[in-house]
């Protein structure tokens, strides 16, 4: 079966700097995969290319049968891709429920004129939208906080709200940019379970950028490793853990050898 997302030879340059270079990437429907790599490796840039924030300098991105590179962001979202952000980008002056309502955008069909005359179709849709937003709010565990202004929420709640907002569009593919940043181990474990539930119960394909190795190794099926814009490794968690180049990318040259020595000569 064709992969849900297929990035072919994607390159994104800024002036002289190649943030992403000749990057190939595939993810199958229903998978949970990760992209990891040291800071500045180009991971978020790649996300931006997929979601349409950047136009790739070269290469193609296919999603669900559409060719999406260079398209406008709203079109891509309507095809079924949602994301969260490295630095939380909620609509901080709007309430939590309003944030989710905005996220539902691709699913709402009534016209503004119908809003003016408040016809039945509009009222029904608004009611449905509100109920759905409440449902999502509860699903991420923020029940009762719907009327809180987003920037008043504690950090953890804000992260979950951003997730809720991304889910509101009923996406096929969910891109999560460092979803456990700033979380303690318990919260991270919660998040891992939640991500699994998203895939198991709702059927969303999930692609993570992560730094927390426990999370990465715990839930990913395939891991791609980036460094300086290039893909340096790809494989299952087990394969990645033993990969010399990956270790060196994170810890520096010679670290792999050092690790081998420290572990008594065996690499897992």
């Amino acid at each position: 079966m064709a992969p849900l997302l297929n990035a072919i030879n994607v390159t994104k340059s800024f002036g002289g700097l190649d943030a992403v270079k000749d990057f190939d990437f595939k993810i199958d429907e229903g998978a949970i995969d990760s992209i990891i790599g040291p800071n500045g490796a180009g991971k978020t840039t790649f996300f931006n290319c997929v979601t349409g924030f950047y136009v790739p300098t070269a290469g193609e991105i296919h999603f669900d049968g559409h060719v999406i590179q260079g398209m406008s962001t709203d079109r891509i979202t309507r095809f079924g891709i949602s994301r969260t952000y490295q630095n939380i980008r909620l609509f901080s002056q709007m309430t939590a429920i309003e944030n989710i309502l905005v996220g539902e955008q691709p699913r709402l069909k009534t016209l503004w004129i119908e809003a003016l005359i408040r016809n039945r179709r509009y009222k029904e849709e608004e009611e449905w939208a509100l109920n759905e937003a409440q449902r999502i709010l509860e699903f991420v565990g923020l029940k009762g906080l719907g009327d809180q202004v987003a920037h008043n929420l504690p950090y953890g709640a804000q992260r979950r709200l951003e997730l809720a907002r991304a889910l509101a569009a009923d996406p096929k593919l969910l891109l999560l940019d460092e979803p456990t940043a700033g979380m303690n181990p318990n919260e991270s474990a919660d998040m891992m379970n939640f991500i699994r539930r998203l895939r198991d119960e709702v059927g969303i394909t999930i692609l993570l950028i992560e730094h927390d190795m426990k999370v990465v190794m715990g839930i990913s099926e395939q891991i791609s490793v980036m460094d300086f814009g290039l893909k340096i490794a790809e494989g299952t968690p087990a394969e990645i853990q033993g990969n010399t180049e990956v270790i060196e990318a994170y810890l520096g040259k010679g670290a792999a050898a050092g690790l081998k020595l420290a572990k008594g000569g065996s690499s897992k």
């Binding site: 979601t51 349409g52 924030f53 406008s72 962001t73 709203d74 979202t77 309507r78 949602s82 994301r83 952000y85 980008r89 609509f91 901080s92 002056q93 709007m94 309003e98 309502l101 905005v102 996220g103 955008q105 691709p106 709402l108 009534t110 503004w112 809003a115 003016l116 408040r118 509009y122 608004e126 939208a129 509860e138 699903f139 991420v140 565990g141 923020l142 029940k143 009762g144 906080l145 809180q148 202004v149 920037h151 008043n152 929420l153 504690p154 953890g156 709640a157 979950r160 907002r165 569009a169 474990a189 919660d190 998040m191 379970n193 939640f194 699994r196």
Partner: protein, 582 residues
């Protein structure tokens, strides 16, 4: 200004504010306000507005000195300081007086043709006369110092005297001054109600007679001293709920009736002002959607106003410029549609621009439209500099609407329609789209919002309202000239909605009342209208940038660095009751 007071010595504060007050007083004198306003008596025939304006500087000196020192020193000492500040504020005035005497009066007396007055046109002997209270230079200068000192003391008193005496005095004085300043407005209203009888008792020409002035002062004083507003409110809150509801509803209906009766209560002149205010409110509501909701800074809004007016002109005029013979009512929807169309056309190219650039481009559009309208090139279509004449008034059921009073209702209808649309859209999905777009355009786009259509909708709807206003204006005035569609109107509307409170409908109304209504009501101050307008804008932005009646969100946005409340801890990821990991 109110910083670093912990370490500044009292004398320095006193002198600082005194100096600032002095500068204000000199400024006000040098630009001629004192002299011009001295023609306007407020109470009797001697207490003139000129002296009130002159007093503004020393008064401010006293007030701010007292404010700053109130917590640090005893009341008496703070009062002393404010008196000192008042005295200090006479300093530069004395210098000014000397300058006038030496540079203007002496040379003139000596027959010189060139005096300082050639450059500073308002340094006149008349001003010197005023500053010395007509008592000659030496004695007058002393009295001037005394004047400033006393006013400084008054300023200090306005801060330091204990309540309720303080609020009584302040409100009494302010009420008297207000009635004095707005005497023309009050006269107009009284005239409608009771003819000239009451007017002649209370006023002599434009100023209050002394005894009624005292009565007004007493009224204001007692209202404040006996805490009438607060007591009424407390008493009201003690009423049972349904009583409260009924009273509120009654007040609301009374307000509506008042609104409808307004033209008849205020007479011809004021109705014209009402018409204008209503027109600006209509346009303000339109611009509010563009700027307040969608966050698109449009400085060329007057262009759509012009389009609507010209559309109405071209469609209905009886001169040879008219291309059809439609009536006002049949032409009106076409005018609005034309406005909407132009909104789309002009909005289209600017969609990608942000912030300041959008503002400048729209400003450019507005100016281009004005210049084109005035040009000879397009004159065959729209009359060029001569404009369009003989636009017929609207006729409804045989009545011709050709007075400000009758046209007021048309404007009222338009404004209500605009308000309706605003409210409906704000609470709908479109309103949320606008709000999110305003906050973070990129992320909104990532939510699936089509920025182009969302922005265009805002632009087009705003343009439609502006065109509606233009069409109504054209029908009211029967003639339109291109010169009147200028940048100042766009700025007026923008300033009005910002000063009133961006995004809120009551805010738009209040803003227009202040920025359009006040200048109309204070027509005698025409010379200094724009100056006061400009200063008002600056002051409001410095003190209350969210406007007078802000929308809740806006207040959050502008004071977002203040701490908020923390809600109860959120539940864990698992749904309630599921428990356990994986």
């Amino acid at each position: 200004m109110i910083q670093n007071q912990l370490t500044e010595p009292t004398s320095r504060i006193m002198l600082k504010f005194g100096l600032i007050g002095s500068i204000v007083a000199v400024y006000v004198s040098a630009i001629g306000m004192v002299e011009v306003f001295s023609e306007r008596a407020l109470i009797g025939d001697s207490f003139s507005l000129g002296y009130v304006i002159l007093a503004a500087g020393p008064l401010g000196a006293g007030i701010f000195t007292a404010r700053v020192l109130r917590d640090r020193l005893s009341r008496r000492k703070a009062a002393g300081a404010s008196i000192g500040a008042g005295a200090a504020s006479s300093s530069l005035l004395l210098v000014l007086l000397a300058v006038i005497v030496l540079g203007v009066i002496r040379p003139e007396q000596a027959g010189a043709e060139v005096t300082l007055r050639v450059m500073f046109v308002n340094l006149t002997p008349g001003l010197a006369e005023l500053l010395t209270f007509g008592l000659g230079n030496a004695l007058g200068a002393l009295i001037l110092i005394l004047f400033c000192t006393l006013i400084g003391a008054a300023g200090g008193g306005a801060v330091l005297i204990r309540d309720p005496l303080r609020s009584g005095l302040v409100v009494g004085v302010m009420l008297t001054l207000l009635i004095g300043v707005f005497s023309e407005t009050v006269t107009q209203v009284l005239q409608q109600i009771s003819g000239r009888v009451i007017i002649n008792i209370v006023f002599v020409q434009k100023s209050l007679r002394p005894i009624p002035a005292i009565l007004v002062f007493a009224l204001g004083f007692s209202l404040a001293y006996f805490r009438v507003p607060r007591r009424t409110r407390t008493r009201f809150r003690q009423l049972p709920d349904n009583r409260q509801q009924r009273t509120k509803r009654g007040l609301f209906i009374a307000g509506l009736v008042l609104l409808l009766m307004l033209p008849w209560l205020t007479g011809l002149f004021l109705s014209q002002a009402l018409f204008l205010i209503g027109l600006y409110i209509l346009m303000g509501l339109g611009l509010n959607i563009v700027v307040g909701y969608a966050g698109l800074l449009d400085l060329g809004y007057v262009a759509f106003f012009a389009f609507g007016a010209y559309a109405m002109g071209i469609l209905t005029t009886t001169t040879e410029l008219g291309i059809t013979n439609l009536t006002f009512w049949t032409a009106l929807p076409i005018c609005v549609a034309a406005g909407v169309l132009w909104g789309l056309l002009l909005g289209f190219p600017v969609l990608r621009l942000r912030g300041d650039y959008l503002a400048i481009v729209t400003l450019g559009f507005g100016e281009i439209v004005r210049i084109l309208a005035t040009s000879d090139w397009l004159a065959p279509i729209e009359g060029g500099p001569q404009g369009i004449l003989k636009i017929p008034n609207p006729v409804i059921f045989g009545f011709t609407l050709n007075t400000p009073q009758t046209m007021y209702y048309l404007v009222l209808l338009g404004a209500v329609a605009a308000g309706f649309v605003t409210l409906r859209l704000r609470d709908a999905r479109l309103g949320r789209q606008w709000m999110s777009m305003r906050e973070d355009e990129d992320v909104s786009e990532a939510m699936g919002i089509n920025l182009v259509s969302t922005k265009l909708l805002a632009f087009a709807i705003g343009a439609g309202f502006s065109a509606l206003a233009g069409a109504i204006l054209a029908a009211r005035q029967s003639t339109i000239f291109p010169h009147s569609f200028n940048l100042i109107i766009s700025i007026n509307i923008l300033a009005g909605i910002i000063v009133g409170g961006l995004g809120s409908i009551p805010g738009v109304i209040v803003g227009m009342l202040i920025l359009v209504g006040l200048p109309e009501l204070l027509r005698e101050f025409t010379e200094y209208r724009f100056l006061m307008y400009g200063i008002l804008l600056i002051v409001v932005m410095l003190v209350k940038p969210e406007g007078f009646l802000p929308e809740a969100t806006r207040k959050r946005e502008l004071h977002s660095d203040e701490p908020g409340m923390t809600p109860a801890d959120a539940a864990p990821m698992e749904p309630a009751g599921a428990g356990g990991q994986d």
